[in-house]
Structure formats: C-alpha cells, structure tokens
C-alpha cells in the first residue's frame, strides 16, 4: 500500500494518493489520536486537522520516507499541540483531572474498573510520555519507528517508556 501511495504522489496524482491514505489509515490514526486526547469530539477535530496537514504536505513527501511513520508523526504532533493549547487554558493537574473525570462519565468508554484505572494512570502522564507509552504499549511499535515518529533517539524513548511504566506501576499501587 505504501508503494501505491508513493507511485501516485510521484505521478502528481495527489487527490488519488490522499484518498488512498485516508482509506488505509483513517481508523488507525483516529485510535492513536483518541488514546492521546481521550475525548471523541476532540479526537475528531484533531483527526481532521491531521488529514488537512497531510493533504497540504503530500506534494513534499519524500518517496524514501516511511508513509506510516510520517502519518503518525503528523497525528502525534497535532495531538500534542491540541493538548498544549488545552493546558494553556487550565493548569496541567486540572487537565489530567478533567480527563480522569471525563473517562468516568464518557458514554464512549466501555472499560471495566481495571481498564479505567489504566486509562487514568496514562492520563496522569506528561503528554509526550503518554505518546511514547501509547505507541509502545497499544500500537506495539518498535523503538526505531517510534524514533522516526517522535524524532527522538531510541535510547531516550526507552528511558521515557521505563519512566512511564514506573509511574503507572506506582499509580496502580496507590489507587
């Protein structure tokens, strides 16, 4: 699929390339964004912004790059920008608290008690660490790909994931 998209981009068939990207990756990117921003409406907004950026950047896509990590990078950056804006309105603790409370009341959350606990623990992580944890834990992405997505060294990502794991472990102990 990556090859087909690259062929369309190289042929300057950008609309066809974009439609294929949407068709292939819309659900995966939605879930990635949703895990970061938690709320469905927020995830929908961020997803649209992500695809708008993808559409505008498509002509500049380097054919030697990996489209999958490129898309995840845009989606992650959009999500982190969204969360940063949200954080400017209220302080960090309030954001984490709001996410926790929203999870409990969210009609679009189906988890049981232990699953809710994990989501609350993840919501309490700093935003970038949350992205690292989600990519590794839920997406099961390898560190090399994660390094491409987050533009960070593999060593730093391993350390970040380790710290996140310790915090989640502590959250489970204390709650």
């Amino acid at each position: 699929m990556h090859k087909d998209i690259v062929i369309l981009i190289n042929s300057k068939k950008f609309t066809e390339a974009f439609n294929l990207v949407v068709k292939t990756y819309n659900k995966r990117l939605y879930w990635h964004i949703r895990r970061l921003v938690v709320n469905h409406d927020d995830a929908d907004d961020v997803l649209q912004n992500t695809f708008l950026k993808v559409w505008r950047a498509l002509p500049n896509f380097r054919s030697d790059a990996n489209i999958y990590t490129w898309l995840y990078r845009i989606a992650t950056n959009e999500s982190l920008t969204f969360l940063k804006k949200k954080r400017q309105d209220v302080n960090y603790d309030d954001v984490a608290f709001t996410i926790e409370k929203n999870l409990e009341a969210d009609v679009f959350f189906d988890g049981d008690e232990i699953q809710l606990k994990l989501q609350k623990a993840i919501a309490a992580l700093p935003e970038k660490q949350r992205a690292v944890f989600n990519l590794r834990y839920f997406e099961e992405m390898n560190y090399r790909e994660m390094a491409e997505v987050l533009e960070t060294s593999e060593g730093a990502l391993k350390a970040s994931y380790h710290h996140a794991a310790k915090k989640i472990e502590a959250f489970f102990k204390n709650h």
Binding site: K12, T15, N26, L47, Q48, L52, P59, F108, Q115, Y137
Partner: protein, 146 residues
C-alpha cells in the same frame, strides 16, 4: 496487578476500551476525503501557475517601474542646469539666451566670470603677466633682455 509486568502482558488491558458514535467510521472516509476537495478551492497544490497570476505579477512590476520613472528626479534636466563656464561663454559669445546668460553670470563667482571673459577675448597672456609674481617669469620665458 501493581507490578508492571502484569500490566504489560495483560491482553485485557491492551484491548480498545473506547467507543465511537454509531456509523462514525462509515462517514469518516468520505468526510476526510472532502478535506482535499474543499481545500483545493483555497490552496492550489502543485497546480501549474495560471496565466492570470503570471500576468498580474508582470503588471505589478510594470506599474512599479512606470511609477518610479514618473516620480524619479529627471537627470537630464539637472545636467542642463549644470553648464560649465565654457558652455556659458560659448552661449554668450554666440548671442544665445541673453536672459539665461545674465542669470548664470549673476550666479557665478568673480573668478568664474574672469575665466569666461578671458576665454571669450583671449586676453589670457596679458592678464597672466599682470600678476606681479609672474612678470619676471614672463620676461625670462620670452627671452627679453633689458
């Protein structure tokens, strides 16, 4: 459960626990594909530059050039007013532009006026030797003995 190893390898915890509104994904693809159609109207991507755009840029440059040409100080006019003393003398000798000659004469220094008079009447030798310091040199050069 508090040990992270139990969390990390727990398939239940890795399950997706979020839901979406009904039919959300059915419309999503179509809705996202519209982004490109709607954005095309605002930002053309890799579209060849239209003639209208090229012409508007060319017209802007032409207008800028015309405006700068119109408002720029006319160098030719300035040159005409900066006549040399020889030019003034020539004009004067030929009887041209009496008023202009008067104007320039009134605005020239005494030295410049002298120069014009000398050029016109060719009395240069006479005036040069009237300078006290030059009289001796003149006689020596002319090999005149008393």
């Amino acid at each position: 459960m508090s040990d992270f190893k139990h969390i990390e390898h727990n398939p239940k915890l890795k399950q997706n626990t979020f839901r979406v509104p009904d039919n959300y994904f059915e419309n999503l693809e179509e809705r996202l594909q519209k982004i490109a159609q709607e954005d095309k109207k605002i930002i053309p991507i890799s579209r060849p530059k239209s003639f209208a755009r090229t012409w508007s840029i060319a017209a802007s440059f032409a207008l800028l050039f015309a405006a700068s040409w119109y408002f720029w100080p006319n160098q030719a006019t300035l040159v005409e007013t900066e006549l040399s003393t020889e030019d003034v003398a020539t004009l004067s000798a030929n009887g041209f532009l009496y008023n202009a000659e008067t104007y320039f004469l009134e605005n020239l220094s005494l030295e410049e006026l002298d120069e014009i008079v000398l050029t016109e009447n060719d009395y240069s030798d006479y005036l040069e030797i009237t300078q006290p310091s030059a009289i001796e040199d003149y006689y020596l050069d002319s090999d005149i003995n008393f």
